[in-house]
Amino acid sequence: MSEQNMTNNKIAGKQSILFENPPLILSGSSIAGKKEGEGPLGSFFDEIEEDPMAGGKTWEDAESRLMKRAAEKAIEKAGLTNQDIRFLIGGDLLGQLIATSFGIVSLEIPMFGVYGACSTMGESMALGAILVDGGYADKVIAITSSHFAGAEKQFRFPLGYGNQRPLSATWTVTGSGAVVIGKNESKDKNKHKKKEKNVVIKGITVGKIVDYGLKDSMNMGACMAPAAYTTISQNLKDINQLPLYYDKIITGDLGSVGKDILIDLLKEDGFDISSNFMDCGMEIFDQDSQDTHAGGSGCGCSAITLTGYILDKMRRGEWNRVLFVPTGSLQSTVSFNEGNSIPGIAHGIILETC
């Protein structure tokens, strides 16, 4: 195979990449808050932090601490040290990514800061996989976090302020998740000795910013559903498959309202995902007993659901091919106050067992 061909082979359709040597997910870590720990996925998380401040002094500090722990845990689970990780790709919801900067400073890993709102896990994993398959790094870590109180403070009201949330509102997940991505070198050596399956990133579909003109920041599921629709539809077209090619198609934080809209929109393209669809936001909390309304949201929502729950299901072989689609809404308080609509973005990550 000539070099020219190798480069071309990675490009799939309009927005997708299929990796030549799909990078391996070496480990995943999930640090969850108390409410998340009490939710249906509680038993899947690595650590549950009961203290909302996580031993820190402010919400922002707390989020940084969660992120640091997630990074350390993932590196430890991969059996590596900080020096083994060539690049860190991470981001969060706070202005200027302060949770990330302050959280990872002591790790001393060269880093790329990324902002994709709640889709950040998808963005950082996509870039990480590109770096690894491109040969620019042998091991990278992709990380993100969110904190309920920090997000409320920045985007909505101080916690003590009394108000009613609409039924379409979502609840920002407190937690941080990280994955260590590395070159897949373990082809034959792991096969007979390990019972668990390996999970690789087979490809990605990079999302476009999609804006259908909705302005309701208390209905973010509906703001992001068109972005998820565009990305999933494009993914299937790019790799020329139907929805049932995947055991699961999993969005980040559309919640119950966004879910219905997404399924509706995809039907118009001839794709029926109603039988294999799942949304991290709807899994992480119990809507009835935890009073979270439409579901969970935030960077941490898709991140810890992936690292805690989804990877576990795949390693056990219950799901073998998953399209993981973290969704983000890209408004700021300024754009919102200035009357702009809320644009959404969604990145698709094709996960496969081997």
């Binding site: 002094k57 402010t58 403070k153 009201f157 101080p158 916690l159 003590g160 302020y161 009394g162 108000n163 009613q164 949330r165 609409p166 039924l167 379409s168 259908y212 003109g213 909705l214 309701d216 209905n219 509906a222 068109p226 309202v257 219905d260 809209i261 509706d264 929109l265 039907k267 118009e268 393209d269 609509s341």
Partner: protein
């Protein structure tokens, strides 16, 4: 396709997708989302607001009667009542009880003076970490600020109208 005005209730996902004009697509999507989004029952919310708001006002009346019983004049009793309600609301905000009350009672907790007190106390607690000047000082009125500004502004306008009416001997 030729009618630009989108009618409520009959917009489907198909209508949204096949629409290519960005503005109309936005309108259609907004209508479609309205149809897909569940809402709180306004009647139940009203009942709860009536109940909680009523209880707060009854407590206020209780204070008022008490202060008058202790010998305060009408004006003085009213001021003491306000002070007492504000104190209670701030205390309950600090104890994280007021937000729970507000979640249940809605407008019933927002409209009385206790809601105003809560909207000042909550930012004070939250932004204390950003310092006494740039934190509490600058941000304490982030929620209550508009109420204060436009409250004073509208009283000023009413004052002018009252003055003019007085000059003409109407009042």
């Amino acid at each position: 396709m030729n009618d630009k005005n989108v009618k409520a209730g009959d917009v489907s996902a198909q209508d949204v997708i096949i629409e290519h004009d960005q503005d109309t697509k936005g309108q259609k999507y907004n209508e479609y989302v309205k149809k897909m989004t569940p809402k709180h029952s306004w009647f139940l919310n009203m009942l709860k607001a009536f109940l909680i708001g009523g209880i707060i006002c009854t407590i206020g009346q209780g204070f008022n009667n008490l202060y008058k019983h202790w010998g305060a004049t009408e004006d003085l009793a009213a001021s003491y009542t306000t002070l007492s309600l504000v104190f209670l609301a701030v205390l309950l905000t600090g104890l994280n009880i007021y937000p729970k009350l507000a979640k249940f009672g809605g407008a019933g907790t927002v409209v009385p003076i206790t809601g105003f007190a809560n909207s000042v106390a909550a930012p004070a607690v939250e932004f204390k970490k950003e310092g006494h000047v740039f934190g509490i000082g600058c941000k304490i009125f982030t929620i209550a600020g508009p109420v204060i500004l436009y409250g004073i502004f509208s009283s000023w306008i009413l004052g002018i109208i009252y003055y003019i009416l007085m000059e003409f001997g109407v009042v």
